[in-house]
């Protein structure tokens, strides 16, 4: 359990140092950026709670996977169908979302 906690702490500290991707001039991408900010805020907040609780992954409910899949699908759709600017921004957001989800998976594995 301590190893998992240390792994999660390390991953959290590393992600925290990554600059958050900037917004977009494209309306659709800008909307998805705002959603990514909220998910980032809530999930990282839950990770700090997980690190402070006795049982690591219990702060995350099953609905988080649905949120992840939903935002991921909409970003992929924009990458496929948006113009170059929107697609480029959406790709950056998808990369960040993937790194964030990896952190959640690490926390949930600690259940």
């Amino acid at each position: 359990m301590n190893d998992r906690r240390q792994q999660l702490r390390k991953a959290y500290d590393e992600l925290k140092l990554k600059p958050f991707p900037e917004g977009s001039d494209d309306e659709n991408a800008s909307q998805l950026h705002a959603e990514l900010v909220l998910i980032d805020t809530e999930w990282n907040g839950l990770v700090t709670r997980a690190l402070g609780s006795a049982e690591l992954g219990k702060v995350f409910g099953p609905e988080e996977e649905w949120r992840y899949q939903d935002l991921k699908a909409r970003l992929e759709s924009l990458i496929r169908e948006g113009d170059v600017r929107a697609a480029t921004d959406a790709k950056r957001y998808l990369d960040y979302l993937s790194a964030l989800w990896a952190l959640v998976v690490l926390a949930v594995r600690g259940r």
């Binding site: 925290k16 140092l17 600059p19 958050f20 900037e22 917004g23 977009s24 001039d25 494209d26 309306e27 800008s30 909307q31 705002a34 900010v37 909220l38 980032d40 805020t41 809530e42 990282n44 907040g45 839950l46 700090t48 709670r49 690190l51 402070g52």
Partner: protein, 181 residues
């Protein structure tokens, strides 16, 4: 490493009063310095009044009075600067803590530190500047807010400028997250 000090200053050291020396000495050393300086000054006064007729008793009394006076001045300085520093620190910390909504974070200070680190350093903003910008942004643009519900069930507001700043806030203006671009 980012660090936000949310505690009172509890330093037992003293900084040079004139700010001319880039050193901080211990309280014991400061006491010794002012006591010695006061004692010398006291004896100078005694010698200037009594001249060569000054007795050991008078010199000892002059040194004692000078030493005590020096310590009194030092004490007054320490109280004044200590109180001012504590007040300034408390004000900054209080501003941050009352301006942010803790949301899902483990602690209120954790939420401030996290968001500042994520969104502000690349723009050269301190935590207080970042927070002030977020609060001002809410004040000027709250009429543009779109209702949202946070994960903990709290009602919130999203204000977003395409390609520009944006943020999530509680309806009373506490910051949940804020970005410049």
């Amino acid at each position: 490493m980012a660090y936000i000090n949310l505690t009172y200053l509890r330093d037992t050291s003293l900084v040079d009063p004139l700010g001319l020396e880039p050193v901080t000495i211990s309280t014991a050393a400061a006491l010794a310095v002012v006591c010695a300086a006061g004692a010398v000054a006291g004896d100078i006064v005694v010698l200037s009044v009594s001249g060569r007729k000054a007795t050991w008793g008078e010199l000892a009394a002059g040194a004692g009075i000078g030493c005590t006076g020096g310590i009194a001045v030092l004490g007054a300085y320490a109280v004044a600067t200590g109180a001012a520093a504590a007040k300034a620190t408390e004000t900054g910390a209080q501003f941050l803590l009352r301006s942010w909504y803790q949301a899902t974070f483990f602690s209120a200070s954790g939420t401030v530190a996290y968001h500042w680190l994520r969104h502000a350093p690349r723009y050269g903003k301190s935590a207080v500047e970042y927070t002030r910008d977020a609060v001002d942004f809410f004040s000027k643009n709250q009429h543009l807010g779109k209702a949202v519900t946070f994960k903990d069930g709290t009602a919130g507001v999203l204000i977003r400028m395409r390609g520009g700043p944006g943020g999530y806030f509680t309806p009373d203006g506490r910051v949940v997250s804020f970005w410049y671009k």
